[in-house]
Amino acid sequence: MFKNFKKLWMALGAFILLSPLGLIATGTAFGEWGTDQLPEEVGFVPAGLAKFAEFWSSSPLPDYGVPGWDGSFVQSAGGYVLSALVGAGLVILLISLFNKIVKE
């Protein structure tokens, strides 16, 4: 699994380390405003939206950050890189399960 495709692994690692570049854009994407941002962005919180917005609130690394690590850019960047590592690691782990069912 890990001994081939060295250049691809290295490219992935480079992008993970560079991921804090994604923090430069501080704006929220269109249609992804949190219930705390809606009053300002839209003027009100739609009733149905309010009901389902918190359907899932047990994300351990919300918004790709470690809760509490938001005092400085360095902290956010650290949380962001850690999130990229955890996320990429989990994706690789799950996909590698295909090793068990694909052919040689």
Binding site: L12, S19, P46, I95
Partner: protein, 240 residues
Amino acid sequence: MHIPDGYLSPQTAVPFVALMVPIWGAAIKKVQSDLKKREVPVLAIGAAFCFTIMMFNLPIPGGSSAHAVGAVLLAILLGPWPACIGISVALIIQALIFGDGGVIAIGANCFNMAVVMPWIGYLTYQLIRGKSDFLSTRAIAAAFIAGYIGLNAAALVTALEFGSQYHWFQAVDGTPLYFPYSVKVAVIAMMSEHLLFAGPVEGMVTALGTWFVARNYPALLTKKLTKRIEPDEMGVDNLV
């Protein structure tokens, strides 16, 4: 492009989950029968790359942001079915662990970014590249255009899902219950951001990614032309 929970009515979001179940089933079957064992790491790295590239938010004038996805690159490298699996896994992790994109909305998000995007992109690429070599200018241009069109197709479908809610679901007093803007507003906002900013970046990611793999691992891309890939064809570092 990750629709959060609450922006789509359950009547819209849940059918998308139901629609995705047979698509995921077919994709797993297809990957099981078509993907070679030595290609699994490429799908794993590729999906992890897509996960990471989605974290590169691009600032959009006016205070918004958008990002590339990588789904078309994955589709060109391995085919649209493996891309569907790879992107779906990335989106599910993003929703559950990072709160990016809703959990009830996971079906819609996977439909947009793991079905519409890789298939539209893949077909565009095939159509433009024709039989030209993977490293030819035409093939690289095809990858750029395919990434651009694939992302914008996903953005358009997302905008229609968003906007339809405004017209379909309103409280008795006429206020929208879920997504608060019309189809027209949603399409203009989503498309201007993706046509002008995220689309060209997606095109670049797709073109550079295809070029990088074609250069370093040529046998990976030409596998459909050969019956069987020998270990030493997978790239120089395979021998290490």
